[in-house]
Symmetry: C3
């Protein structure tokens, strides 16, 4: 991927994901983007398909580098699917920091796409982290430092039952609940986000995954992961 003659280019990944950096953002553009002046350099990750996978990947990136999260935006996309795409901006004083953040983020995607399951009717998604950092805090309001996870169902109806199931399966705190008209970009999803004891969050997610897979299978083929489940 090197040698395309564009210094801004870092790499690509699944989901039509592209990673980019700008060493010195133009002042006019910075102002229009609402990026603070302390971030001389920005890293950019964007994709047509995926929001959870990229946000949880970005969370690892901010843990592993000096870059910070500037903004996370969620287009209504997935190329005809029921979910979101994403645009994530990292900021740092030095371009090597944001480049490293973008690299870490791209590198995590193979893992964070592991619990995304799809068929011709819809998709399910599950994410988990033992220690939430500033990307999932920004995107989902996660309490930093605590175990945190999400369950996502599309069509949204399946997400409702998964949410109820998750919270009944273990003692967890409901951090957020998003639906087509509230908290999503009009995606056809219900997203539950939960926090709490590490084992409890995991148990809640695993329980929701079990019922979600059975329900989505009623609308089409057995839902499958494109990579390898990690939860």
């Amino acid at each position: 991927m090197a040698g395309i003659g564009v210094t801004e280019f870092v790499g690509v990944a699944r989901g039509d994901t592209i990673g980019l950096v700008i060493a010195n953002v133009d002042d006019e553009v910075r102002k229009a983007m609402n990026v603070e002046t302390k971030y001389r350099s920005i890293g950019i990750v964007g994709a047509r398909t995926g929001a959870g996978p990229h946000i949880f990947a970005a969370d690892e990136a901010v843990k592993a580098t000096n870059a910070e999260i500037v903004s996370i935006e969620l287009p209504r996309d997935t190329k005809g699917g029921g979910g979101h795409g994403n645009l994530i901006i990292f900021g740092a004083d030095d371009v090597s920091d944001v480049r490293r953040a973008v690299e870490v983020c791209l590198g995590e995607l193979e893992r964070t796409f592991g619990d995304v399951y799809g068929n011709e009717a819809g998709h399910l998604e599950f994410q988990y982290t033992a220690r939430a950092s500033h990307a999932v805090a920004k995107a989902f309001g996660a309490p930093v430092g605590k175990a945190f996870g999400i369950t996502v169902g599309s069509p949204a109806a399946i997400g409702v039952v998964m949410a109820d199931n998750a919270v009944k399966a273990a003692t967890v705190d409901v951090v957020g609940y998003s639906s087509p008209g509230h908290g999503t970009s009009y995606s056809n999803e219900v997203i539950l986000s939960i926090s709490g004891d590490s084992g409890a969050v995991k148990q809640a997610i695993i329980s929701a995954r079990e019922i979600g897979l059975k329900l989505l299978a009623q609308l089409g083929a057995e839902p499958v992961s494109d990579t390898k489940p990690y939860i």
Copy 2:
């Protein structure tokens, strides 16, 4: 469809529609969903494709059962088409009531998809009820108890001409008018909703349907219904 081992599952229908129930909604999830405590049980209908068909089917469901409408949300969906999907929540004190509502709703969809016409360029939709109840009241502001109908055109430009044509064809009251930037979830539709004398509402819709079918045919094949027209 029985025997999948999930008590929440009720059934599926066209449009990637799934019907579900929760007998006792978890209190944390109920709060997050903004469901009143008087609804111990909820019924859930959701689909990737369709809003009008499901709302008018839900209207029959609330007429036929003790369940009430809790919420109606419209994702921007239809799997690459120009319209909406849906997420409809019924509420009742008893799970048998919401289960019955979901069953009635799923059962009505074959009929309410009857006046949905599509081709490779877009779709048209027409719905009519002789007596509006609380689902169409919630979704469209329909006056309860009166004849009510909608005309939907996508691309939205066709919906504009259908709206004008409908209102000129008979003496009806304009209840609402939604367009991509006002009142839809950024769908590519213009939706007219009308009320009034039963014969007049029907006449207005039939007239709009006639011109809409001719216009959409200019962008592709003859638009066809997937089921059987009912208006």
Copy 3:
């Protein structure tokens, strides 16, 4: 296309575009549409795919006729792509004026689609006018009478780098910057709009186009124009 027996029909064009007129808009519909009474006649252009091409085409239409722009709305569409469709309403006292505007608009589309480049992963778009008129003023806040242009990248990440690149390539004024969560209808695009000296605006766009084409090519095939580049 003549002889379909619908006086409202004007014509069709690429992008599932349809052009229509209503000689005397019904008063109830006019009110619901929020169209001023001075516009007895309206012209309607709408499409599943395209916003920039249609807005810049409409700009030529208002320059060339007595019709004015009533409204421009942007559904989240493009049939599974990452961008917008459109619904543009022209107004005039006389139906011949809006018909002429619709005809000019449809006629310009072959040109204004010239700098739209797509592949399986996304699209890029560039538009330029030496003298902005009331359509681009309404849609983008362009200063009337001045040279004006836009750069659009999808996935949005590519649009960020193009925006920075454009503004560094020439001395131009940033008029606007839209992203998935700010100023678009949740499309997966970053849109930069710029004004200034004619040569500078063109130079900025050409520079952004060069880098954008290289970046989008990393996610799929060489992006191509469906018609003929004009900038």
